[in-house]
Amino acid sequence: MTLDIQIQDGVVAASATTTVKLSGSLDTVTAPELERHLAPLLAKQGGVKELVFDLAQLKFISSAGLRVFASARKQLKERGGQASFIHLQPQIREVFDIIKALPGVAVFQDIDELDRYLAARQRSHTEK
């Protein structure tokens, strides 16, 4: 099984957001491929702040893939950004849950739920 990676820029809740759609298998062979695709997005100069991983078509994940997510999340957090996850299939969600790989991670059912979350977060920042 291979991994297909599609990267799209967009706007969610008035925030510039980059969505990474993953299809197939995120495993010991394909995790380095994802790392290479994410590198420019996570660069300190010109990188993004809001990264959304759409996992609707992700069929398989192992700890190699989870480590890529954990690394991306850490780098985004260091610059005040965030990694969010939408459309987790049950078997993928179970892997996340078992090892609590990403404590406090932002996981949403769909783009609408993410939109409401980001809008609320923006209001919170504006009011401070």
Binding site: M1, D27, S62, R67, G104
Partner: protein, 138 residues
């Protein structure tokens, strides 16, 4: 069924794909296929990354077997003596650091039994999974 594999990620996934085909031929559920594939990926990745340090010239073997109600996956490698069943899952120093032992934690969760033995100069890890089958099959 027995596979002889070089210590590379591509060979690990070749073994995983072969196990998927083998499991589906036993009419087990797709959830069980996922569980077996994940456990094999984690154990075989440990062998190539830790026992053989990505030395592609090294070889290890994987054997699949099924007795009708359970499936067995056995991995053999000639790396240094290492019992993965005794690995502790270390908590991360802070929430952004990955903890150690994620892979073996997943294997413990998805398999019903893990048995390690040292056989001569080989590590032998045997995974056991009780089978659930597609509805309508016995």
């Amino acid at each position: 069924m027995k596979l002889e594999l070089h210590a590379t990620p591509e060979e690990v996934m070749r073994a995983v794909d072969t196990l998927r085909d083998f499991a589906r031929a036993q009419c087990v559920s797709e959830k069980t296929v996922f569980d077996l594939a994940l456990a094999l990926e984690e154990c075989a990745s440990n062998i190539i990354n830790h026992a053989f340090k990505r030395d592609a010239s090294q070889k290890f073997s994987v054997t699949f077997d099924c007795n009708g109600s359970e499936m067995f996956v056995e991995l053999r490698d000639s790396g240094p003596c290492f019992d993965p069943t005794r690995v502790e899952c270390k908590a991360p120093a802070n929430e952004d650091d990955p903890p150690g032992g994620w892979g073996i934690q997943l294997v413990h969760y998805y398999m019903d039994a893990l048995q390690y033995t040292r056989d001569g100069n080989e590590n032998v890890l045997r995974l056991t999974k009780r089978l659930t089958r597609h509805a309508g099959t016995t």
